[in-house]
C-alpha cells in the first residue's frame, strides 16, 4: 500500500529554466518582416498577417471591423462564395479579426496545400471590392446579433466598464451601435482598405510544418505588395468617467448580475507590470486564487470569478469579472474588497506564494510547448515592441518576487477608491 497521505516528491517548477525557443526572422523584398517557427509533428501550418488596421485608425465607428470582416467577400474576379469554396475545398480556414491597433487575417491549412491557397490570399489583400449587397447583409446580421447581445448582462457590462475606464471616444472604450452599423457605406470600407491594407503595414507570423521553399513562396506572392508603409499608432488619451459606482437594471426578469470591478493600470513598460501578474494570479488569476476560494468555493455565490489585466498595447486596466446571483451581488463586491484588504494588510505566506509561482511556471512551460504557442509568445512581444529579454525578465520576476513586494504592490494598486464598480442585472 503506497503512502497516500504525503505528496510524492515534486520538482518545484519555480526552479525550471524556461526558454523561449527562437524564431526565424527575415524580411520580404518590400521589407515586410516575417517571423516563423518551423516545428511540429503534424503536417499543418498557420500563417497570420497582422495589419496596422485596428479601430484606432478609423474615422467612423465600426469601419475597421467591417473592412476586416468583408475582405474575403468579393474580389475583382471572385465572389464571396467562390472564395470560401476555394479555401474550404482544401480544408483550410481563413479567419479574420479586428482589434484596437491591429487587424489580422489568419490562414490555417495542411502544409501540402499552401501553394494553391496563397494566390487567393494575395487577391484578397490587393483586389477586394466590398460589394454593396455583401455590406447590406453584414449590416443586417450585425444589427440582429447586437439585438440579442443587448439582452445579456455580461455583454452590457463589458461594454460599459470599458467606456468608464477609457471614455466613449477612446479605441478601447468605444463600441458599435445600431446607428453605427446603419451608417456604414462601401466607400468608407474601400477607402480604409486602400489606406490600411493595400497601402498599409503588415507583419507576418508563421508556425507549423513549413514547406522547404516557404520563404520563397511568401516572397513571390507578397514581396512586391505595398505593405511596409510607416504606420503610426495614434496616441489616445483616456478620459475615465468621474462617477465610480453604477448599478444598471437591463432586464427586469434577470436572475444574475454581471459584476465588473476595474481600475486603470499602466501598460507593459511600467516596471510594476510583470510583478503585478503574480499578485493578480494570487487575487483572481486561477482556480486556486483568493477570490475563487472565497466567493465560489466557500460561499457559492458564483460559477466563477476572475481577475486579469486587459491585453492592450497602450494603457490598460485591471479587471475583476463575475456573474453572481442577483441577491448576492453586493455581498460579492464586499468580499472582493475584503480580499484586497487582506492582500494589503497581511504578508502572503511563503507556502501560498510558492504555490502560485510553481503554478505560473508550470503553466508557462505548457504554454511554450508547440509551434503555435511559441509563435503566439513572439507575436505578443513583437506587437508590443518588446524582445526576448522581456520574456526572461518576466520569468525571473515570477521566481524572485517576495511576499513584501506583493504586499507593497497591493497597497499601491488594490485600493478600492480607485476602482470602478458596476453591476448589470
Amino acid at each position: 500500500m503506497p503512502d497516500r497521505t504525503t505528496i510524492p516528491d515534486i520538482k518545484d517548477a519555480v526552479d525550471f529554466n524556461l526558454t523561449l525557443k527562437p524564431c526565424d526572422k527575415y524580411a520580404l523584398t518590400n521589407g515586410a518582416p516575417v517571423y516563423a517557427v518551423n516545428a511540429g509533428a503534424e503536417e499543418v501550418l498557420q500563417l497570420e498577417f497582422v495589419f496596422f488596421a485596428g479601430n484606432c485608425f478609423e474615422e467612423k465607428n465600426t469601419v475597421a471591423a467591417a473592412t476586416n470582416y468583408l475582405l474575403k467577400n468579393g474580389t475583382r474576379t471572385k465572389n464571396a462564395f467562390s472564395i470560401n469554396e476555394h479555401f474550404e475545398y482544401y480544408g483550410a480556414y481563413l479567419n479574420r479579426a479586428c482589434y484596437s491597433e491591429h487587424a489580422t487575417i489568419t490562414l490555417h491549412c495542411l502544409s501540402k496545400h499552401l501553394n494553391v491557397l496563397l494566390p487567393v490570399v494575395k487577391e484578397i489583400l490587393t483586389e477586394a471590392i466590398f460589394p454593396e449587397e455583401e455590406l447590406e447583409i453584414f449590416k443586417q446580421n450585425c444589427k440582429q446579433r447586437l439585438s440579442v447581445n443587448l439582452q445579456k448582462c455580461d455583454f452590457i457590462a463589458n461594454r460599459l466598464i470599458d467606456q468608464k475606464l477609457y471614455g466613449a471616444d477612446h479605441p478601447y472604450g468605444k463600441f458599435s451601435s445600431m446607428e453605427d452599423y446603419e451608417a456604414l457605406h462601401t466607400d468608407d470600407l474601400k477607402k480604409f482598405y486602400a489606406d490600411h491594407y493595400v497601402n498599409g503595414k503588415a507583419i507576418l507570423f508563421a508556425a507549423g510544418k513549413l514547406p522547404a521553399d516557404f520563404a520563397t513562396q511568401l516572397n513571390n506572392f507578397f514581396g512586391e505588395l505595398n505593405i511596409n508603409q510607416p504606420a503610426n499608432i495614434p496616441q489616445n488619451v483616456s478620459l475615465p468617467a468621474t462617477e465610480k459606482k453604477s448599478r444598471i437594471n437591463n432586464d427586469p426578469n434577470g436572475v444574475q448580475g454581471a459584476i465588473r470591478i476595474a481600475r486603470s493600470f499602466p501598460g507593459r513598460y511600467h516596471p510594476d507590470f510583470k510583478k503585478v501578474m503574480v499578485l493578480n494570479n494570487l487575487l483572481g488569476g486561477f482556480f486556486g486564487s483568493r477570490l475563487m476560494a472565497n466567493i465560489r468555493e466557500e460561499k457559492g455565490y458564483t460559477y466563477g470569478i476572475h481577475s486579469f489585466i486587459q491585453n492592450h498595447v497602450q494603457d490598460t486596466a485591471w479587471v475583476i469579472s463575475t456573474e453572481a446571483g442577483k441577491d448576492v451581488c453586493e455581498a460579492t463586491i464586499d468580499e472582493t474588497y475584503k480580499e484586497m484588504k487582506l492582500l494589503r494588510d497581511t504578508l502572503v505566506d511563503e507556502e501560498e506564494l510558492l504555490l502560485v509561482k510553481n503554478y505560473m511556471m508550470g503553466l508557462n512551460l505548457g504554454d511554450l510547448d508547440g509551434p503555435f504557442q511559441i509563435i503566439a509568445r513572439w507575436k505578443n512581444l513583437i506587437l508590443n515592441n518588446l524582445d526576448e529579454k522581456y520574456f526572461y525578465d518576466s520569468m525571473n520576476d515570477i521566481k524572485n518576487i517576495s511576499a513584501a513586494e506583493i504586499k507593497d504592490l497591493a497597497n499601491k494598486y488594490l485600493v478600492p477608491e480607485q476602482f470602478f464598480e458596476l453591476v448589470v442585472i
Binding site: 497516500r4 470560401n84 474550404e88 440582429q144 440579442v148 443587448l150 444574475q256 508550470g362 505548457g366 503555435f372
Partner: protein
C-alpha cells in the same frame, strides 16, 4: 497516426499510454463511463454535480487543487450526457503527483455536507448563467423533451430543473459514487514525456489496490422510432424569432455516423456551405443558420437552427430549409463537394492532434467506446463515404415523421 500501448490492471482499470518525447509535459486523463444518461429521471444533473464534488477532497487528501498547483499542474473536468472526464496537465517530472491525486479520489471521496452545500449553489449559478439568464438559453431543454420520449437524453447534462440540484442529498451522492466511480468503469490515458514502463509501475502502485467494485451494467430504455412530427411553439422575451428542427440519427458506433457527420458539413459550417449560401446570402431569410449533431454514444440528434431576419414568416423560413433538404434527398452531390467536406475533416483531425491534451482525451474517449485504435481509423471511415450514401441517409433522416420542430417567437 497516434501511437499508443495499453494494459489492464487486475481491478479492471484500462490504461492507455501515449509517449511523446517532444514535449516537457505530461497529461493524465481519467474518464469515467458515466454521464447524465445514467441518472434517475427524478434526480437529474447528478453526474455533473458530482463532477464538482470530486474536487472537494478525497479520503487521504483534504485538498485536491493545491498540491497539483504546487506541482506546477492544472486540471479541469467536464460532464456530458455520456461520460465524465477529469484531466491534468503538469510538468512530466511531477507525473507521480497526478497519479497520487487521481487514485485517491477513485479510492474514496471525503464526503462532506459543507462541500455539497457549496457546490449545489455553484452549480445552481452555472445553471442560471448559461440557461436561465441568457436569451434562447432554455431552448435545448425544450427540444430534448420534444424529441425524446423515454431515453435519458431527454434532459440536459446540467439537469432538468434547478430543484433537482437544490435537493441533492449526501446519501444520494455517496451511492452515485459507489455505483459509477470504480476502476472497471473507467479508462485512464497517460501521455507526454513519459515511458510505458514508468506508467505501468505507477499505475500498479497507485491504482492497483483499489477494489474493483461492482461493474455497472447500463440498461437504458431504447427510444422507440418516432412515427409522427413533433411540434412546439413558444413565445419568449427574445428579440428575434428563431426556428429549431432536429431529427433522430444513429449511434456513435454505427457506420452511418460518418455519413451523417459529413452531411452536417455539407449543410453548414463554412462560407460555401449550402444552408448559409442559400438561406443567409441568397434568400436572406436567416441572419445565421447552423446544422450540427450531438456526437452522442447512443442514437443522437442532428439539428438545424437559425434566427430569422426580421419580417420573415416562420413558415416561409421552414419551407426554404425543407427545399434544401429535398435537394439532398433527390440529387447526388458532386464529387468536388464531397471531396471538400472530406478534406475539411482531414484538416480538422490534423489540427486537433497537435495538442497533447486532445490526443490523450481522444484516446480515452475511443477506448471507452471500445477501442483506442478507432482513433487512427476515423479518417479512413470518412474517406469511404460515397455520394450515394449521403443521398440515402438524407432520405432516411430528413423525414418529417422523424422530426421535432420548435417555433420560438419573439414577444416583442
Amino acid at each position: 497516426m497516434v501511437e499508443f500501448k495499453k494494459f489492464t490492471l487486475g481491478n479492471g482499470l484500462r490504461v492507455i499510454v501515449h509517449e511523446d518525447k517532444s514535449t516537457p509535459m505530461a497529461v493524465l486523463d481519467v474518464m469515467y463511463d458515466v454521464g447524465s444518461r445514467d441518472e434517475d429521471p427524478a434526480q437529474t444533473g447528478f453526474a455533473h454535480l458530482f463532477e464538482h464534488l470530486m474536487f472537494g477532497g478525497s479520503i487521504n487528501i483534504p485538498s485536491y487543487d493545491e498540491p497539483l498547483q504546487m506541482a506546477g499542474g492544472e486540471n479541469n473536468a467536464y460532464t456530458t450526457n455520456d461520460l465524465t472526464n477529469y484531466y491534468i496537465q503538469l510538468p512530466a517530472e511531477n507525473l507521480e503527483t497526478a497519479f497520487w491525486l487521481e487514485s485517491d479520489r477513485m479510492l474514496s471521496l471525503a464526503f462532506g455536507d459543507k462541500s455539497l452545500a457549496v457546490q449545489r449553489k455553484v452549480v445552481s449559478e452555472e445553471f442560471r448563467e448559461h440557461y436561465l439568464n441568457k436569451p434562447y438559453g432554455e431552448v435545448w431543454h425544450k427540444m430534448r423533451e420534444l424529441a425524446y420520449t423515454v431515453h435519458p437524453y431527454r434532459w440536459m447534462t446540467i439537469g432538468k430543473e434547478l430543484s433537482h440540484i437544490e435537493n441533492a442529498k449526501l446519501a444520494d451522492v455517496k451511492s452515485f459514487f459507489h455505483k459509477h466511480y470504480t476502476p472497471s468503469n473507467a479508462v485512464m490515458c497517460v501521455a507526454g514525456n513519459i515511458t510505458f514502463d514508468q506508467v505501468k509501475e505507477l499505475s500498479e502502485k497507485w491504482f492497483g489496490n483499489i477494489p474493483a467494485g461492482e461493474k455497472y451494467e447500463r440498461r437504458l430504455p431504447e427510444e422507440p422510432k418516432q412515427t409522427r412530427p413533433h411540434h412546439l411553439e413558444i413565445k419568449a422575451k427574445v428579440p428575434l424569432d428563431a426556428l429549431y428542427k432536429c431529427w433522430h440519427i444513429y449511434s456513435r458506433l454505427d457506420k452511418r455516423y460518418y455519413t451523417t457527420d459529413l452531411i452536417t458539413d455539407i449543410l453548414s459550417g463554412g462560407g460555401s456551405s449550402r444552408l448559409f449560401q442559400s438561406l443567409v446570402k441568397e434568400k436572406k431569410l436567416f441572419s445565421n443558420i447552423e446544422c450540427y449533431h450531438f456526437g452522442s454514444v447512443d442514437a443522437g440528434l442532428i439539428a438545424i437552427e437559425g434566427k430569422l431576419v426580421k419580417g420573415i414568416k416562420m413558415e416561409a423560413a421552414e419551407k426554404a430549409i425543407l427545399e434544401e433538404l429535398d435537394k439532398m434527398k433527390t440529387e447526388e452531390i458532386s464529387e468536388a463537394e464531397l471531396q471538400k467536406v472530406k478534406n475539411k475533416t482531414e484538416s480538422l483531425i490534423a489540427f486537433e492532434d497537435v495538442s497533447l491534451m486532445n490526443r490523450a482525451n481522444s484516446l480515452a474517449t475511443y477506448e471507452l467506446l471500445g477501442d483506442a485504435d478507432l482513433m487512427n481509423k476515423e479518417l479512413a471511415h470518412y474517406q469511404a463515404v460515397t455520394a450515394a450514401e449521403i443521398r440515402q441517409e438524407s432520405r432516411n433522416i430528413f423525414d418529417e415523421n422523424n422530426c421535432s420542430t420548435l417555433y420560438y417567437y419573439s414577444e416583442n
